[in-house]
Every structure is written in structure tokens, then in C-alpha cells.
Symmetry: C2
Subunit: 877 residues, 2 copies
């Protein structure tokens, strides 16, 4: 028979998948001799069985649970259903991967109208007993029964107002007794029956609620955002209660062994006295920094600090701890590897190498490639910053700089972002309902809550700039306005926020590029020592090229030449070329564009020096360059001395039912060879000029897109080679050059051995290859891919992460076929996927020479490439 | 050193690829002892070298030619450049595959101002000598120098008019002398130099002209139409002249050993006395039937008949002969397997089996599958035919019945056909310039020319209805009108023509389906004994289904359900469904469509009985069903009580950038499962009803389109299985059924092993698979595929013939993967390719169970399947 329940004594930290992260660590700490309230864990397997079957706990499971309760009762010499000295439990979810704020907790379970009296009596603290009971009723109602929490909060506010109490703590035992009665009334009204008095019923409902919460929409969004599989399930931890709300010598807190924002090696955290559980992270009262604890309870502070250090050393990583002080006794309620900013992750990893705690290899494996993104984002321009008006200062919850228009509701953020507006989400405090708004906003501001509040934790996870707990501001979400002293900021007003200082500024502030030095530089050096895969960038301008070089790009994997066609000074000539009625006319128009293209290429070659640069010849269908508005069409007609009907006629003729599969790429060169001839002339002339001007070696790489057959490639290659030879003759100079092709059509991947006979290199265009292999138009599939993700058919969009399972077959096969023909043929990838860490691992495994991605993803790619190289070596050993 | 020239004595019929068909057969006949004018053949290899190099004959080749000329001189005891008794040559092209009318011939080569006198003297026939010279000048000028032939013809007409001559033969020697001088004048005017007098120069130009003619546009069109590779090249036959224009005891003719239109076993042909070469086929004078020859030259007729029979037996096939009578001496100038109508091919094949000449297997291999098409086309309704007004009667040149509007120029035919107009091409006589018009017209009428005229030969090859030599009509191509007695038919008027009787009718006449009995039935029985591949049909209605059954379909491989949505009584409900704002509303609309779909399926199951029927669930994107005109949109809005903006809004939302890769196929079922549920309910209810009503077994095959992953298939399958179970319960009856999928997305082909776990059958949708594997939109690629064909990148459109080289890899691989998972999984093909003989061969080879094609292609598929089975067996032996 499957064992579904484990006491903490039975487990250890390696049992995450069964006990969840929280349960496994509670077990580990229990066995390390750390003071952890006794309890047990119901496994993720039980959760999955529960969800697969009828969503009812089955009898044999409940028998197993009862056995474990008896064990706890024996340990603590208390009884669960006792009315004199009742044993109370906390019931908490604990998934394999930490999901902050997503899962629900019930404290003080086991209290009822009788037991609350026993608790008051046995502790001699009536206020504490009723405080615990009112909390329990509210949490149970909210979490297990889905009664809106606001009903209880409103009653609590009214009660405080009625009695002139500022904080919850100001309410007396009698007030709380009254509140308990009112809470039970709410429960009865909402549920149509009395609040359950039987502790065992309470427990049953609570466990079911945790299991069910695995599938709530907020949890699903979080999992999707973090690529956590939906079939892991959550464990449930049932743990005897310890109380932080027993008065002035009790409290509760959270702490990190190092600073999770910067990585600084000092204990970092917050606590609240006379508080319970979620009070600290919920942001309802602003907590004290952990260092204060040393002043008021030095002995306990040092005990906590020693425990924290012991845990960090044990886990060899920065720990995130929850603790409770019950009448000056310390209990650890949770430890886990702490979430941190990329900056902190990198600093901690480098520090730990230098402290001798971990190796360089381990350090490299510690930093999530995607997170580096955070380090690469700009900061405010110092000069502008000095002159900027500070509105107020909050907590520096998640670093970075952001400017945008203020919106107060997640839905407005989403809407405006779609319209291209940069936005800042401002809330009293955030909750999981705001996730989508947080994803879309440039930055987040909250008026309440600390460094571990929902807003702060989630923003750091996203690498999004956040200022939390800006307590001076007053947010009115209904009126869509926030006030700070005499300043009023309305919806749509521009502000800027600095997540590294906590400052909030009026208006927009210019940003400057980040400096990638210090630990970053050191770390990336280690990374480059490990990786085998080359990392290039996709860049269409000298500016992009320079940016990418700073980020460590080793070359350009893709220069798209079409973007160069769109600028205002060129588009008239491009349109003239398209509307040409004869080859001569077309050549004349192309002659106007050529010198401009030549200067583009000159700039890029100049920026890149001797590094490789792959330039792709014109790819999109010609109709993309034609105007659509009546006004523009009329202007074009008059410019070209044509009738409007003529221009409209050409536009109509060029329109396509499926432009993605239409007349584009090298197909244009089959019908209009002049276009590619112009482009290669510009490329080779620029290269020869830079070579001469700078006295350097350049090896141009010319890439022909959308090839489906070797004969097609050969045809186009013959055309452009002919033009290149003409350039050499005219300039009386020559150089080696490579002509290669995109592998982006399934047929080309299938016939890569033939295509390799005419190609010096391959570049996998996985965007188009994905579109054609799936039959998904990237422009249209958004509408239904959401449903595919929800229905778990394609959990991750194949446009974000390469579909290794399907498209990957074609890519891997093409690599093998290509190498069969030409052992040393150079191969890379230049689709959007080139910056996705999992895709990069795949590229390493199948033996590509390089990946190419946008400049900001270059460091990510370098790190991902190093990690896969290390992982592979470790596996081989 | 490569041997480029072969004397006829050196060759034989198996040397076609080197000597061309004509040359190889001349050699064969020479060695059989048949009276063939002596000569030699310059090989296709020489042609290819000529075209690849500078299009100039190289010296060593010319030396070889001179050697062979000397041999002929020795044989005939005449000298090529002699002025007394000159040796003259004909120079004719001869490709591997016969290309009627496409290549060019020059007769009487070697004549000049001196030699013509010698010829007159040595033959004692001055008229003949100058007739030969004027013919030579005209042919040489036209063919070798590209001087328009009309210049000479006009001069000839003037000359005849001037001298009151009706026929060419009425001109005297003096007239012809005068004509020769005029022709030489024309030559000088056009070329700027005198007509070449040196025989060796004449020969050089002539050979070059033949080689060049391989690449003329007409030849290219013919090759494209007949799938003849462009790299075969043509041989040149240089043969000593014999003369049919030496007077009343000379003549020339063409004949078939059997009737090429019907297959009847009687000598069939035509001749002209005192005529040369092309006179018979050019249709300038209307020739006499071959049977007449028996009356005027019985001895010679019998000699010819014996020779013909000997050749038919030797070649074991119906022969097409050219002969010349020179002063009562018979020469055979050419023999080849005769082109014939499908009807004739089939009758000859069956007859030859019964005559013991060939085996059943050979008979099956003799009939071109594509040609069967001709037998399946309708004839005129007998009743209507009786009442129809006959305009006139011509020769029944190519069988079939056609009605259409009259046009006189190929370009008008092409233009009107594009606009959906059915057309008949009416010409005085046709020439290779008319080919495109002939392809596009429903039928062809000519006023001049016999059964072997250009129009007749080409039309039969195309399987196109043709009435030739309707001598009563007078065609005025410039005025765009033809007259027949008092009837005047203008451009755009409707006529009907019967290619089996030669009748031309006024107006449109109803057509009836052909009867497929007699030899056809017998032949197809033999075919079915041989083939292993099943042949199903694509049919969307009971009518199509019944038609296909008559043609021998064994089941339905594809019923497209979307066509059923478009009828006038249904489209409103379909649009209502699409515009629904809620599931309930959508279900209500679907409930209106369901009973109609059920009746469709009832009809199809009823027609097909126990034969398998595969029904594909809805495939196209929903926007295809919405109206586009303002009027229709307004009507829909008012019908549905919506605003016009609302309707336009929905239409806008549903529009897609690339609908081919958009929200369609089973993707609709992921978002709107109700649609497929309605469809399977209709299918299963209909099947259960037919089963009960007819007391037969039915095994419904339900096909899910556009699957890209097994999870997607599983999801949709679960939905529809659920609905089917509901139907079973409601109807208190059940039946087995199969659920399968299209393999039409590259990813599905790559992962066919996984998909097979959830599929009872596969049907390869090679239309979409081709689009995605090539990245070619079928709707858009027409524009550039023509250039791809011309540039020999894709000689045949991959939408006409399955691209075995590329797409075929995916198909073959998917077959293997599918069978690996499920050994007996049933597999077929249902794309347009399913009716293409070469594709069918491929399907046989990779082990598909069946092909499915449109009803009219079913017999073609059956025959192609039998041929590949026989070819495979022969290869194994």
C-alpha cells in the first residue's frame, strides 16, 4: 500500500518531489536538531490521487492521518480535540517548487467555542485565545470555504473604528470575543450552516482546500509564468501550532541569510511582535528590520543568527527562513533557498566561491540565465536624476529603473500595454489577482508592505523594478488617483521609479545603459571559460552591434536588411523599385538605394572589425513596403507620375492570401534577380572599403533566405556570385566570402545534405521553421495557443521555446545531413529561440557552432551555454 | 572520342536516347530490309553539347558528318555538291519522344542555282526541279533563318492568282522559276545577303537550326505539357531525298496500321499525289483516304499494306507511318508507335490480346492511365441531340462532346477561361502558337486539315474533343466570325461539337454520362486483377458517390463536410453559429444545421452501402463562411438583430494574416468543441439509421484534420467519443467506429508513431503537407512557380505531382513510424495527388493501403495501381 503520510522525522531534504519543498526542509531541519514544531506531511501523490479521482479524501488516507495526529499528541502531551489544553495545527501547502502567495495557509486549526475557552485558561491569555480564534475563523472561511475575506476585514475595521483602535493589537479580549461572534454569523449567512465545531471536520476541509488550491487560476498563472509542470501537485504540511501572538514576548518574522536584493553577506529580514503568520508578509503592519531584534532580545537574536548560518552552510546556499517566537522560545517554521535578484544571485555566487563555500562551476550553475536580463537594464541618467522632483521614497524592493504612465488596476495596465503605452502599476498592496498587471507593467509601486510583501517577492522573481511600502502615499484605487502630501498623481500621469533606491519621481527620466563590471565581469569570464557554443547577436545597425559587443557577442549571426528599407529617406526609392514596369526602371530605383545600404554595411563592418557578420538578403514579400492609407497611396502615385488606380492595382496584385508562404525570400531573387544583385554589391563594396580603410581582414557571410531546394540555392548563388565578381573587377581588389543559407523550410531541413553541397554555412531560422512544421502562423496562432496552453497540449508556446520534440527532429537531422556532406560546415541558429536557455542547451547537444540572439540576451546565452557544457561534463563523469 | 554520327545501318530501335525515335526506327527498318532512303543520324549528345557550348557546330563533328556524306554518295553514286545529278538531303529533327509539329524539317537541301538545272536535266522534269527549289528556299528561310513563312506564302498566292491557278500543282515550271527568283529576293531583303549557294553551308545552317529548335518556346510548352525532360535534346536525321512531287506517279502520305481514333483494325491514313513532305499534315490540300490508293495503284497499295503489317508485328504495336512514292517506288520515311485516343488505345490493347499478339499484362502497360480521362467524359443527350440544329459536319478528329462560346484566338480563349467561361477554339487551321488556347478550350474546330493535321493530333494527345477539316465553314479570324452557308456565328456565340461524329451544333446541348462497358469493362477487370492498392474516391454528396461507384471506387477516402455548410438553406445558420456570443447560442445554431448534415450523411451511407466512408470534420477557418459584400453583411446583421458594426467587428476579428496556418481544422474543436460534437452526432445518427433501414453493417470512419500532436488528437477524440456515447445511449443502439487523422502537418508526419497510438487510420493530406513542407501557399505560389518551372528548379508543380524527393520523405517516414506503433494501421492518401499516376506508383511502393481521388480519376488510379504492381513484379523476376 502506498504510504501517503510522513512524519517530519521520517523525511529529509531529498524528498522534495514527495513532500514538497517545505515539508522536505522541515524534515531535514527536524533531523538536524533544529527547533521545528512537530508535525507531518501528506504527500504530493495524495494530492494527485485526490485531483484525479472525485476530489474527496478517501478513508484509508484519513486513517493514516489520524495515526500521525496521535503521534503528535503523544509527543506534545496534548489532545487535538481536547477542550482544556487543545492541540492546534497549522495546515499549509508545500509544492515541489516554492510558489509564493499562490497557496493558502490555515492557522490555529482545532479551535472551537469550547476549546477557545480551554486555550484562554491554559495559557492564561484570553485575548490571545480569541485573537487566534477570530483569525482561524477568517482564514478557514476564506481559504477552505471561499467566503470573501473582505467581509471579515470590513467587520474588523468597523470594530476598530467603533472602539477607537488604531491597530489590531489595540483590540481587547472582549472586542475579539464580539468579533468571533460576528465572524461566525458571517459564516452562517454565507454557508447556510454553523461554523464547524468538530476539529476533525475542520482538518478534512482544510486539507481538501489545499489540494484544490493547486488548481486555482492564480496558481496556474504562476506555474505558467515559471514553467512549472501542472502535474506535480502539492503536499500538505500539518504542524502543531506555535504562537507569535501571545503578547509582547512573542512574535513572528521572515529573514534571508544574505541580502536578497544586493547579495550583501548580512542577515536580512523583518519581524513583528505579537503577530501571527501572514501578518509580516501581508503588509498590513509595517514590520521592524531584523537587526532591531538584537536590541530587544539579544540572546534570541544570536540563537536565530547561529541557526541561520548553520542552515546556510548545510544547504550551501542563501536561505530564506520563517520563524516564530513563542514566549521567548525560537521556532523555525520554514527554510528554503532564498529567491534573489539576479544581482544578488551573481554576487552571492561569486562571494561564495571566494569564501570557499562552493566551486566556480557550482557558482555558474547557481545563476538562472534568464535572470541576467535584470542586470542589463538601464539606470537613470545621473544628470537628469539630480534635477528630477522626488515625490517620495519607498523600499528598494526590486532593482532597476522604469518610467511610465500610472494605472491602478491590472486590467488597465494590460489594455494600455497592448496599445503600446509604458505603464507603472500603483496599488495599495498587490495580491495574486494583480499578476497579469505586474507582468505587463514597466514597474510596480505599493503603498504598504515590506521587502517580503507580495509585490516585492513577485517583482524580484520577474526581474521587474519595484518600490514597495511607500508609506507616505495614499492610494485611492476607485478614484484612480494617489496623493503624497500636496502632490496628486492621476491615472495616466507619468512617473519614474528607481527600484535600487526606492525613489519615486515625477515625470519621465532618461535612462543610461548598465555597466557590466565587477562581479558581473568576473562571473562572465568564468562562464566564457566553460562554454563551447559560440554566441553571436542579431543586429541590424551599428548601434545594436556595439551594444551586443559590450554584452560579449562574438559576431553577428543575423543582419536583417529589410529594416534598412523602411526609413523615411529610402522607402520612396523602394516603392519606386516595386512599382517599376521594366528591369531598367527597377535597376534605376535600386541604384538609389544601393549607396545607402552600402553605408549601413560599412558601419556594421566597422563596428564588428574582424568578427564574423552574417547578412541576410531581402526576406519579406514586397507588398510589405507599399503604403496602405489612401493619402500615402495618392502621394506615391503623384510622386511616380502614375494614376492612383495604377498604384492600387499593383498593391492588389501583390497582395497574398498567405504572405508567410508567398512570394518572398529567395523567391524574389528568382523573379527579380536585380534586388539581390544590388544588395551583394553594397555588401562587398562596403567590406572592401572597410578592409582597406582599417587594414583588417573581413570575411563577408552572405545568407540566402527561404531556400527549399539546392537547385534554387544554386540559381541564386550563381546570380550573386556573378555580381560579386563584377564588383571585384571594378574595384580591382578581391576577398574571400561565404555564401550560406537559412534552413527554415521543412523541405530544406529534409534535404540538408543536398543543400550543403552549395552552402558554406547553415543558419537555422527556427521562427519560420516552427511556423511551417506546426502549420501555425505566428501572427494568428496567439488566439488559440492560449487554449492549447490551458488544455496542456502545448504548455509552452513553440515560438518562445524551440519544440525539441518535433521541430527539433528536423533541426537535428539537418545538422547530421549537412555534416555528412561537409564535415566542417558552419552552423548556427538565428531564430528568437537563440536566446532561450533550454533551446541553447539543445543547440549545444546537437552540435551547432553558435547561437545568435538579440543583444540583451547575449549574456543569457553565454551563461546557458556554459551551464549545459558543465552539466554534460558532470554527466559524463 | 565520342561518336556523334551514326549511319542508319549502324543503329537499331533500342538506340532511341542517342538517335531519337525517328532515327532509331529508320535504322531498325534499314536493317529489316525495308526500303528506306539511305542516310545518317547526328546524336542527341551532339545536340546537348551544341546547346551547352556556344551554339556553333565544332570542326570534328563536321568532319564526321562529311565522312557519312561520302558514304551516302558512294551508295547512291551521286555527289552532294554536284551540279549535274545532285544528291539532295532532307534534314529532320528526331527527339527521343515524338513531338508532333514542334520540330522543323528542311527538304531538298543541296539545291542551288546550278544544281536545280542539273536536277531538271537529270530527271527530265523541270517543273519538279523548280518546285523542289522553291520549297527548299521557303523551308530553309523559315526554319533555319526565321524569315516569316507568310512572306513566301503570300507571294505564292499572288502568283497563283496572277496565273489563274487554283492549286500549287497548277503552276508551271516557268511560274515556279519566277517564284524562285522572287523567293531569293525575299531572302536577300530579309537577310541582307544572297541565298546561300554552297550545299555544305546550307547543311550547317540546317543542322544548327534543328538543334536550336529544341529550345524554342513551342517545344518547351509541348514538353511541359507532356512531362518530357528538357535535357534530352534532339537528334538530326540527314537522309537522301526521295520525291513525292515528281508528278502523277509520285506522292506522299501518312498512315496508321489501325484506326487511331477508334482502334478498329483497318489500315487508316491519307495521301496526296504530286506532293512533298508536309503537304499532307499541313492541311493545305485536303488529302485522299489511303483506301483510294488501292484503286489507283493496287500493287503499290499492297506492298505498302504488307510493309505496314510487318512493322506492326515487329513492333507489336500500332504503327504510324510516313511514306513517299517516287515514280511508283515506295519508300518508308518513318515508323513509330502511333498516337491514339484513349478509346483506341484500349480497344487496340484488348484486340491485340485477343489476337494473341500481346499478353494481358502488356495490354495493361500499353494504356496511359491519364488518357482514360477521355473515356469518362460525357456525350450529348440523345433527345436534345435530335432537336439540335446541325451547322455542319467535319472530321471526327478527337472524340468527346463539348459546348462553349466561340473564340478565334488562343489569347481570347485563355482570358475567357480564366473568367470561368467555357470556350470553343475555332481556327482556319491550328499551329503550335495555338497550344495554350487548345489546352484551355473545351473543344477545337478547324476548317482545314485532315485526321493527321496539327489540330487533330494535338487534340487527341490532350484527350480534347476536336472537329477538324469542317470544310464548309469559312473562318474570318480578323472579323471574329465564321460563316457556314447562311449561318453566321460571331465571337461569343454558343456552339456544341461532337468529336466522335464530327457534327457541329448551334447552341448548348445537355450532356450525359458515358457508359463504361464493352472493352473498357473487360480491360478494367484485368486491371483490378493486377492491382494491390485500394482505390477510393473523394466525394461530398450522394451524387458524386454514385458517379464514383460507377467508375469502380471501392469506398470514400474523403468526404469534406464544409461544402455542405455553404448551401443557401444552411449558410444563415452557419453564420449564426459563428456570430454566437455564448455556447448556448452557438449550440442553438448548430441544432439547426445538424438535421441537414444528418440527411447528407444518410444519403452518402445509403449510396455507399457497406463500403468504407471516411468523413472529415470541419476544416476551413470560420471566416470563410462569413459574407464579404456590404449588402450581405447588412442582411446578416438585420437577420441576427445585430448592428452592422457588430457583424463587421466579428468578421474583422476572425480575419487572419495567414489563414492557411490559422485557426482551422481541429484547432476549431479545441476552442469550440460544440461544432465537432454536432458533426459526429449527425454522422453516427445517420449511420445507425441506415444500418437499421437497410439492415447492413456500417463502420463509420471519422477523420480529424490538421492534427500536429497526439495530445491534440486525444483531446478532440475524447470530446467526440463522449458525444458518440451519448448518441448510442439516446438511440439505444451502437456500432463500431474508427477515429483517425489526416497527416498533413509536417510535425504530425515526424511524430506519426506517437499519433498512431490514438489513431485507427491515417490519411495523408498531401495538399497541405506540400504547402507546409515547401512553404508554398497554393493560392499564391502560382505567380512564381511558373518561373521555377522555366528555370528548371521545380519542373513540375509539386501541387500536381507529389514531390517524392522532399515531401515524400515525410510521407514514407510517417508510414514506417505509424506501422511501428500499429502494424495494421490503415493508411491512404486523399490529396489531389491521389489521382496522379506517378504519385500512385509512389503510394504503392511505400505500402499505402489505398489512394483516394476525384470520381473521374478513379479509373486512372486503378490502372496506375495495376501498372506499378506489374512493373514491380517484372522487376523482381
Amino acid at each position: 500500500m502506498t504510504k501517503y503520510v510522513y512524519s517530519f522525522k521520517e523525511g529529509n531534504k531529498d524528498m522534495r518531489s514527495l513532500m514538497g519543498g517545505k515539508g522536505a526542509n522541515l524534515a531535514e531541519m527536524t533531523n538536524m536538531g533544529i527547533n521545528v514544531p512537530t508535525g507531518f506531511c501528506i504527500t504530493t501523490e495524495a494530492c494527485n490521487r485526490f485531483l484525479d479521482e472525485d476530489k474527496v479524501l478517501w478513508d484509508s488516507l484519513f486513517d493514516e492521518i489520524k495515526g500521525h495526529i496521535e503521534e503528535v499528541e503523544k509527543d506534545l502531551n496534548k489532545k487535538f480535540s481536547d477542550t482544556e489544553n487543545p492541540l492546534l495545527f497549522s495546515v499549509r501547502s508545500g509544492a515541489v517548487f516554492s510558489m509564493p502567495g499562490m497557496m493558502d495557509t490555515i492557522l490555529n486549526l482545532g479551535l472551537n467555542d469550547q476549546a477557545v475557552k480551554g486555550l484562554a485558561h491554559s495559557t492564561g491569555n484570553e485575548r490571545f485565545a480569541y485573537d487566534s480564534y477570530r483569525r482561524f475563523i477568517q482564514m478557514f472561511s476564506d481559504v477552505a470555504m471561499e467566503i470573501p475575506g473582505v467581509l471579515f476585514e470590513d467587520r474588523l475595521s468597523e470594530m476598530k473604528k467603533r472602539h477607537g483602535a488604531e491597530l489590531d493589537n489595540d483590540l481587547t479580549a472582549d472586542h475579539l470575543k464580539e468579533l468571533v461572534e460576528e465572524f461566525k454569523e458571517i459564516y452562517k449567512e454565507e454557508m447556510g450552516e454553523d461554523f464547524p465545531q468538530e476539529p476533525m471536520d475542520q482538518l478534512r476541509f482544510a486539507i481538501e482546500a489545499v489540494f484544490k488550491s493547486w488548481d486555482n487560476p492564480r496558481a496556474r498563472v504562476y506555474r505558467k509564468l515559471n514553467d512549472i509542470p501542472d502535474n506535480l501537485g502539492t503536499a500538505v504540511n500539518v504542524q502543531s501550532m506555535v504562537f507569535g501572538n501571545m503578547g509582547k514576548t512573542s512574535g513572528t518574522g521572515v529573514a534571508f541569510t544574505r541580502n536578497p536584493a544586493t547579495g550583501e553577506n548580512v542577515l536580512f529580514g523583518e519581524y513583528l511582535m505579537d503577530a501571527q503568520g501572514e501578518d509580516v508578509v501581508a503588509g498590513i503592519r509595517t514590520p521592524e528590520p531584523i537587526s532591531h531584534l538584537e536590541d530587544i532580545m539579544p540572546h534570541l537574536f544570536h540563537e536565530f543568527k547561529d541557526t541561520a548560518m548553520k542552515l546556510e552552510e548545510h544547504y550551501q546556499d542563501m536561505q530564506d527562513l520563517e520563524f516564530t517566537i513563542e514566549n521567548e522560545r525560537l521556532f523555525i517554521l520554514q527554510t528554503r533557498n532564498g529567491k534573489r535578484t539576479a544581482d544578488a544571485a551573481l554576487n552571492i555566487a561569486v562571494d561564495m566561491v571566494e569564501e570557499g563555500l562552493i566551486t566556480k562551476e557550482e557558482a555558474i550553475m547557481r545563476v538562472e540565465p534568464k535572470s541576467l536580463d535584470q542586470l542589463l537594464h538601464p539606470n537613470f541618467d545621473e544628470k537628469e536624476l539630480k534635477e528630477a522632483q522626488v515625490i517620495t521614497k519607498g523600499l528598494a524592493a526590486s532593482p532597476g529603473a522604469a518610467s511610465g504612465r500610472v494605472y491602478f488596476h491590472a486590467s488597465d495596465i494590460v489594455k494600455n500595454t497592448k496599445d503600446g503605452v509604458k505603464t507603472i502599476l500603483v496599488r495599495q498592496e498587490t495580491s495574486p489577482e494583480d499578476i497579469e498587471g505586474m507582468i505587463n507593467a514597466e514597474g510596480i509601486v505599493t503603498a504598504r508592505g515590506g521587502m517580503t510583501s507580495h509585490a516585492a517577492v513577485v517583482a524580484r522573481g520577474m526581474g521587474k523594478c519595484c518600490v514597495a511600502g511607500a508609506s507616505e502615499i495614499h492610494v485611492d484605487e476607485d478614484q484612480r488617483v494617489f496623493k503624497c502630501r500636496d502632490i496628486e498623481i492621476k491615472e495616466g500621469d507619468l512617473i519614474s521609479i528607481d527600484g535600487s533606491t526606492g525613489n519615486i519621481y515625477l515625470g519621465d527620466i532618461q535612462k543610461v545603459e548598465p555597466k557590466l563590471t565587477g562581479n558581473f565581469g568576473k562571473f562572465m569570464e568564468w562562464v566564457d571559460e566553460e562554454r563551447q557554443l559560440g554566441v553571436r547577436t542579431n543586429a541590424d545597425s551599428p548601434k545594436d552591434a556595439k551594444q551586443a559587443l559590450e554584452f560579449g557577442a562574438e559576431g553577428i549571426g543575423l543582419t536583417r536588411t529589410e529594416h534598412m528599407f523602411f526609413t523615411e529617406d529610402r522607402i520612396p526609392a523602394v516603392r519606386e523599385m516595386i512599382l517599376s514596369k521594366s528591369i531598367e526602371q527597377r535597376k534605376k530605383a535600386l541604384d538609389k538605394i544601393r549607396p545607402m545600404q552600402e553605408e549601413d554595411f560599412y558601419g556594421i563592418y566597422e563596428a564588428m572589425g574582424e568578427r564574423p557578420v552574417t547578412i541576410r538578403l531581402l526576406d519579406p514579400p514586397l507588398h510589405e513596403f507599399l503604403p496602405t492609407s489612401t493619402q500615402e497611396i495618392e502621394k506615391l502615385a503623384s510622386d511616380m507620375n502614375l494614376t492612383v488606380e495604377d498604384v492600387r492595382g499593383t498593391i492588389g496584385e501583390l497582395q497574398e492570401v498567405n504572405p508567410m508562404l508567398g512570394h518572398r525570400g529567395c523567391r524574389l531573387a528568382i523573379t527579380f534577380p536585380e534586388i539581390y544583385r544590388m544588395q551583394v554589391r553594397a555588401i562587398m563594396t562596403a567590406a572592401l572599403r572597410v578592409k582597406k580603410d582599417k587594414n583588417i581582414e573581413i570575411l563577408p557571410e552572405i545568407m540566402i533566405p527561404l531556400v527549399s531546394d539546392v537547385k534554387e540555392l544554386k540559381y541564386v548563388k550563381d546570380e550573386i556570385t556573378d555580381e560579386i565578381e563584377m564588383v571585384f573587377e571594378e574595384m580591382d581588389d578581391r576577398m574571400d566570402y561565404h555564401i550560406g543559407t537559412m534552413i527554415e523550410i521543412p523541405r530544406a531541413a529534409l534535404l540538408a545534405d543536398e543543400i550543403a553541397t552549395e552552402a558554406d554555412f547553415f543558419s537555422f531560422g527556427t521562427n519560420d521553421l516552427t511556423q511551417m512544421t506546426f502549420g501555425f502562423s505566428r501572427d494568428d496562432s496567439g488566439k488559440f495557443l492560449t487554449e492549447y496552453a490551458e488544455k496542456k497540449i502545448y504548455p509552452v508556446s513553440p515560438f518562445e521555446r524551440l519544440d525539441q520534440h518535433g521541430v527539433g527532429i528536423l533541426v537535428e537531422n539537418a545538422v547530421k545531413l549537412g555534416r555528412k556532406t561537409k564535415e566542417n560546415i558552419h552552423m548556427g541558429i538565428c531564430g528568437e529561440h537563440g536566446g532561450d536557455p533550454e533551446t541553447i542547451q539543445f543547440c549545444h547537444k546537437i552540435g551547432l557552432d553558435y547561437v545568435s540572439c538579440s543583444p540583451f540576451r547575449v549574456p543569457i546565452a553565454r551563461l546557458a551555454a556554459a551551464q549545459v557544457a558543465i552539466a554534460e561534463r558532470n554527466q559524463e563523469q
